[in-house]
């Protein structure tokens, strides 16, 4: 789950200083937001779609036990195998054992957030297995030894020069930094791997309970390669990635690509039902589903249950003003943006993730953007509240808020407090405002000037107006 050992504020500083990142986040957000608006438009009223999608997700997660049982039964009916893994260790051990028993040498992976979550690549590499990410963005960050900084565009923080350098190392010669040539080179390298690989690992956009099927949503086609050529296919699936029936996918699959990248549909939707059948020539001989909990149970039955409704579109990242400024890596978790700020502490607790619920301005844009209407910003408030109740906030902060509470409850204290605040601030204020503030204010003034107090306070102005009126 963890992607960095730096403390939160240092991670944020790294992002602030990265000019390319700042520019490309802005560009990406603009592109995705416009695309989303353009592809929602022909659907009519988006609220009707969002409400229906929410209802489908709610019904499914409310009956998750029932549908998981149905899914497992039907996967087996189609000839697949099912393994339930409570922990990250259990999940990756199942895959490494399988790789060992089959003497696997090369693994091709199409995108799977859950395997990022459980660090599956490391576990396989330890065995000496060659693991290749085949989503181009994932491949790039794998070469760089990094983690995704956006759920849909994992290598958004890399420029073409950096990408050319990474691919040049693979090529053993210098490649020019023009994207078409780089795409061509990647295609050639990855195609060889696809045809060599003995194990394919995919994620799971949706599992369909009624037929025990998998639906993969991809643009490049790497999902198709991963599931067509290797003799064994392993599906890594978070336990909530499920729909009851094919027809229940209708609204979800209509909204997912529109909310994600502003496409009406992705190039490929691949529906897989069991391993290859008698007479099939391609497709894997064996199909395994690894259904993973890894902390999701914490959300079930709690006030955070709706976070399991998420369909991983990234619309909340694309709209978030905080994400726009700090990028994905600053969150320090494989899940970034508003969804990451909620999901990570829900799955993992506050010990290492106390800052994430505060990485938000609570503007609520994420909640409005979410195609399945998860109340993300309300959950962020709830998570902050939980931290206070668990007495996790610093003592000074707690005392400060206690005093603030008392002060604002009494008009006389409030007036005195305001006056005192103004006097103190004026000590630090220059002509433009406060450029280097004292104590906690420094965190603000480090980035921007804090406005000086108005020469006349609202209360004084009000009083003087009243006097003038009385005179009249």
């Amino acid at each position: 789950m963890k992607t960095s050992n730096l403390p939160f504020h240092e991670r944020v500083d790294v992002a602030f200083k990265d000019d390319f990142l700042q520019e490309s986040l802005k560009k990406a957000q603009e592109k995705f937001i416009t695309g989303k608006a353009n592809t929602y438009k022909p659907l009519g009223d988006p609220e009707v779609w969002r409400k229906r999608a929410e209802e489908v997700r709610r019904h499914t997660i409310d009956n998750l036990d029932y549908y998981l049982d149905m899914l497992a039964t039907n996967i087996e009916k189609r000839g697949g195998k099912v393994y339930f893994a409570k922990t990250a260790d259990e999940a990756s051990r199942y895959v490494t054992d399988l790789a060992q028993s089959k003497e696997v040498k090369t693994v091709v992976k199409s995108k799977s957030m859950i395997s990022e979550e459980i660090h599956l690549n490391h576990a396989l590499e330890k065995l000496g297995v060659d693991v290749i990410e085949t989503d181009l963005g994932e491949y790039i960050i794998q070469l760089a030894g990094e983690t995704p900084s956006h759920i849909i565009v994992p290598a958004i923080h890399k420029n073409k020069k950096q990408i050319a350098e990474l691919l040049s190392k693979v090529a053993g010669r210098e490649l020019p930094d023009d994207p078409p040539g780089l795409y061509q080179f990647a295609r050639k390298v990855l195609r060889e791997k696809f045809l060599q690989a003995d194990l394919g690992i995919s994620g799971c956009n949706f599992a369909v309970a009624e037929t025990g099927s998998l639906l993969l949503v991809t643009n490049e086609g790497n999902g198709r390669f991963t599931t067509t050529f290797p003799e064994t296919h392993v599906v890594m699936m978070g336990m909530e990635r499920i729909v009851p029936r094919w027809k229940d996918l209708d609204t979800l699959i209509t909204l997912l690509p529109r909310a994600a990248t502003g496409q009406k549909i992705t190039t490929y939707l691949t529906a897989i039902s069991g391993p290859r059948r008698d007479g099939d020539v391609d497709g894997p001989e064996e199909l395994h589903f690894v259904i993973v909990d890894n902390g999701r149970l914490n959300a079930v039955g709690s006030k955070f249950q709706e976070i399991l409704h998420c369909i991983r579109c990234g619309a909340c990242l694309n709209i978030c003003p905080v994400y726009r400024h700090i990028g994905g890596h600053a969150y320090g978790s494989v899940y970034s943006g508003p969804i990451g700020a909620v999901l990570t502490p829900v799955l993992r607790g506050f010990d290492e993730w106390a800052e994430l619920p505060y990485a938000s301005s609570l503007c609520g844009a994420c909640t409005d953007a979410c195609p399945v209407r998860i109340p993300l910003h309300e959950m962020l408030v709830d998570l902050r509240n939980d931290q206070i109740l668990e007495k996790r906030s610093p003592t000074t902060e707690r005392i400060a808020f206690k005093m603030f509470g008392k002060m604002t409850a009494t008009p006389r204290f409030y007036a005195t407090g305001l006056k005192a605040g103004k006097t103190v601030l004026n000590l630090f204020a220059g002509r433009e405002g406060v450029e280097s503030g004292p104590g906690k204010l420094k965190n603000w003034t480090k980035e921007r000037t804090f406005p000086s107090p108005a020469p006349q306070s609202f209360r004084d102005w009000w009083k003087s107006g009243k006097k003038n009126n009385e005179k009249k």
Partner: protein
């Protein structure tokens, strides 16, 4: 190791009720897409299909009847300078028409070879040949108007790799099989998923935007998609 029973009962416990014997998924009397296409005729749906596919840089070649497919396939093979073309081994009318058209073409063009995906062939060999082919020609069960999508059912002689490995893919689609939106295909997926290990919805050529968000076509999969659109007979 966690067993299925333990895993599922831990969820039941957290939900805080007994696991139900039977759950009925909600069936709604209305659909969010209701009314969107009220004024559309089948011709409008076909036109929209063409617009959407072309917007994704797919191509459309019109064919009067399935009997005239040969001319369309000939121009496709010529335009793409195809030397090796892989086709499905399938005895439906469309499957036969594709194969015949390709074989006729290769008879008069010595440089063009036709490979039929063989349901009892050697896997390694077939994949090797298909990877080295410049074109693959298949047929679609459905076209989806709203998104310019074709739906391919893969099984036995209708191999998955034929629409994936070659650079250029030709897809035969009958105008009568163009449906308004994905809803109509999903309604039948319960049965078709049981009958087919793999079903692909394809909308235009393979694409990626992972390098500085600059769009590239044909990253892993085919770079060209041509639909042979057969008029209603």
């Amino acid at each position: 190791m966690t067993t299925k029973e333990e895993f599922i009962s831990s969820i039941t416990k957290r939900i805080g009720r007994q696991k139900p014997e039977k759950v009925n998924p909600p069936d709604f009397s209305d659909h969010p897409a209701d009314g969107l296409y009220d004024s559309f005729s089948q011709k409008d749906f076909v036109d929209q299909f063409i617009r959407e596919l072309e917007a994704l840089s797919g191509k459309v070649i019109h064919v009067e009847t399935i009997g005239k497919l040969g001319t369309a396939i000939e121009s496709f093979l010529e335009e793409n300078k195809v030397e090796n073309v892989v086709v499905w081994n399938d005895d439906t009318e469309s499957g036969q028409a594709i194969r015949t058209a390709c074989e006729e073409y290769s008879k008069i063009n010595d440089n063009t070879h036709v490979i039929a995906w063989n349901d009892d062939g050697n896997r390694e060999e077939l994949l090797f040949i298909t990877e080295r082919s410049d074109a693959g020609i298949v047929y679609a069960e459905y076209g989806i108007s709203e998104t310019g999508t074709v739906v391919l059912y893969n099984i036995a002689g209708k191999g998955r790799a034929v629409s994936l490995l070659p650079d250029n893919i030709g897809i035969v689609l009958h105008e009568k099989d163009v449906v308004p939106r994905i809803t109509h295909v999903l309604e039948r997926m319960n049965e078709s998923a049981i009958d087919h290990s793999c079903i692909n919805f394809i909308s235009g050529p393979s694409r990626s935007a992972d390098i500085e968000m600059s769009l590239s076509i044909g990253v892993h999969g085919p770079g060209g998609i041509t639909v042979f659109l057969v008029k209603n007979e």
